[in-house]
């Protein structure tokens, strides 16, 4: 939910200070995107946020979500076929739907899924773009119909821009490296983390989001990249119990 006045200003500046701190050092792109969707929910008048990236086939894939619940994931994934997020990605422009009831004809499957869930009423999609190239979208969901304020839209776009910078600069740009390569690395890191989440969830008999939390905590405490820790767990080089004890 959007905080008011001076509070908000303080939160915004502290969020961007922390993001800038992250970007000067070696960092994990999924960790960064996860923080960004968290900030989106904290700072903007929205209830849920997710980031999707287009893979090499142009398929949109979820790389970060503010909450792990199946409903949000479903709405994000469904937009491979249709919806504001897909349109935002294809056109590289913001797509705002203040009331989903008004777009039933345009996106029948997407609005039907939203209807069944009875959780969200409005959606806003902001592009992740580098110059003319579109790499994905930041999706913002709200339980009430209505537009986002101009201030929220521009702050949301700033967060989406940080995501773009974070993804494309994740590693030192090597010779010949192209946007596709950075995208593929980010998407593959998400897969590594999901695989590790599964190992931890099974071993600790905990929920997936708790598993992710433990993974992140262990990575920060031991000063390692999230995806590196995750990779070692899946390769069975790192004992999951060591991570669960963190």
């Amino acid at each position: 939910m959007s905080p008011a006045g001076g509070d908000r200003e303080h939160l915004v500046s502290s969020a961007f200070t922390r993001l800038a701190d992250t970007l000067v050092d070696e960092y994990d792109v999924i960790d960064l995107l996860d923080r960004l969707v968290g900030y989106s929910v904290d700072l903007l008048a929205v209830e849920a946020a997710g980031i999707v990236l287009g893979d090499v086939r142009g398929t949109l894939r979820v790389v970060a979500a503010s909450n792990d619940d199946a409903q949000l994931m479903e709405l994000l994934q469904l937009q491979n076929d249709e919806g504001p997020c897909l349109e935002c990605y294809r056109t590289a422009t913001a797509v705002s739907v203040p009331d989903l009831a008004g777009v039933v004809d345009r996106w029948p499957r997407f609005t039907a899924a939203v209807d069944v869930q009875r959780v969200f009423r409005s959606v806003h999609a902001l592009p992740l773009r580098l110059r003319q190239e579109s790499i994905g979208a930041l999706n913002l969901f709200n339980g009430l119909p209505g537009p986002l304020s101009e201030a929220d839209l521009s702050l949301g776009q700033a967060l989406a821009d940080v995501a773009t910078i974070g993804i494309l600069q994740e590693r030192a740009i090597r010779r010949g490296e192209v946007v596709t390569q950075q995208l593929q690395t980010a998407l593959n890191n998400r897969v590594v983390i999901e695989q590790a989440n599964g190992v931890l969830a099974e071993r600790g008999t905990i929920a997936m989001d708790v598993a992710f939390d433990r993974l992140r905590r262990h990575a920060r405490r031991t000063n390692q990249l999230l995806s590196r820790v995750a990779r070692r767990i899946v390769e069975r080089e790192l004992d999951p119990d060591a991570v669960l004890e963190t």
Binding site: R57, G58, I135, R174, G176, N197, A201
Partner: protein, 249 residues
């Protein structure tokens, strides 16, 4: 009033010729060599390279060249296996593509001194590109491309090569985890993009203490036997309605 027509699409992922060629291939269980051949041939036909090879070289399991388009491509693989260094070894270890536009340049020689020296002596290779076939934490192999003359791949060709490797990964993973030799269901990209499939793979890995590839194979076999979709089986595992044990099929 009709909604305004969106402006033309500008997705990053414009598919190149090699990527499109590979999208037309159907994976079949137990046919990894045939798949590797098709993948390598498509790369040589569509990219500015002279040869290609596809090898398995995970840290834990045996090294094997599945296919090489010519003797030089084969030599490249043999040298790297024997010397335990080179672009393709690095790609497999880091999970990131390695581009060496000029093998004679000092930097590359310092990176893999023995490999570079042996290669210069035995073959005419100017540029080398190694692309890992990566599925999450799992390396399924490395695609090596070489050209006799030095020089980088043009950005659109590099993009096409990356796209091709992404498709090749899914093809090889399908072939390796197919529940039955005649099975032609394949792993579809949309399913393999679902978080639950990866989470379930991790859970089954932990339940049976097996590798991630074997865990995926078990999930696919179960889906096949039960005549269900992989995503539904994965969801059952994640929600703990289904647990794998050593004695179940």
């Amino acid at each position: 009033m009709a909604p305004p027509r969106p402006p033309p699409a500008r997705p990053v992922a414009d598919q190149g010729v090699v990527t499109r060629a590979l999208l037309g291939i159907v994976a079949r269980g137990g046919r990894e060599h045939a798949l590797a051949e098709q993948i390598c041939r498509a790369c040589v036909a569509g990219l500015d390279v002279d040869g290609a090879a596809l090898s398995l070289l995970t840290r834990s399991s045996a090294r094997e060249t599945l296919w090489a388009t010519d003797p030089t491509a084969e030599l490249l693989e043999d040298l790297q296996f024997t010397l335990n260094e080179g672009a393709c070894m690095e790609a497999a270890t880091t999970g990131a593509p390695v581009s060496v536009p000029d093998l004679a340049a000092g930097v590359e020689v310092r990176r893999w001194p023995v490999f570079a020296a042996a290669l210069a002596e035995q073959a005419e290779v100017g540029a080398l590109f190694a692309l890992p076939l990566q599925w999450g934490a799992i390396n399924l192999g490395v695609l090596d491309l070489y050209r006799r003359t030095a020089g980088g791949l043009a950005p659109e060709q590099w993009r096409d090569a990356l796209g091709a490797v992404d498709v090749a990964t899914l093809l090889l993973l399908s072939a390796r985890t197919d529940p039955d030799d005649g099975y032609d269901g394949g792993l579809d990209p949309a399913t393999s993009a679902r978080a639950e499939v990866h989470q379930a793979t991790g859970m089954v890995l932990a339940q049976l203490d097996i590798s991630a590839v074997d865990a995926l194979a078990r999930l696919r076999a179960h889906a096949f036997v039960e005549q269900r979709l992989l995503i539904d089986v994965a969801r059952d595992v994640v929600t703990r309605r289904l647990r794998f044990s050593d004695d179940m099929a």
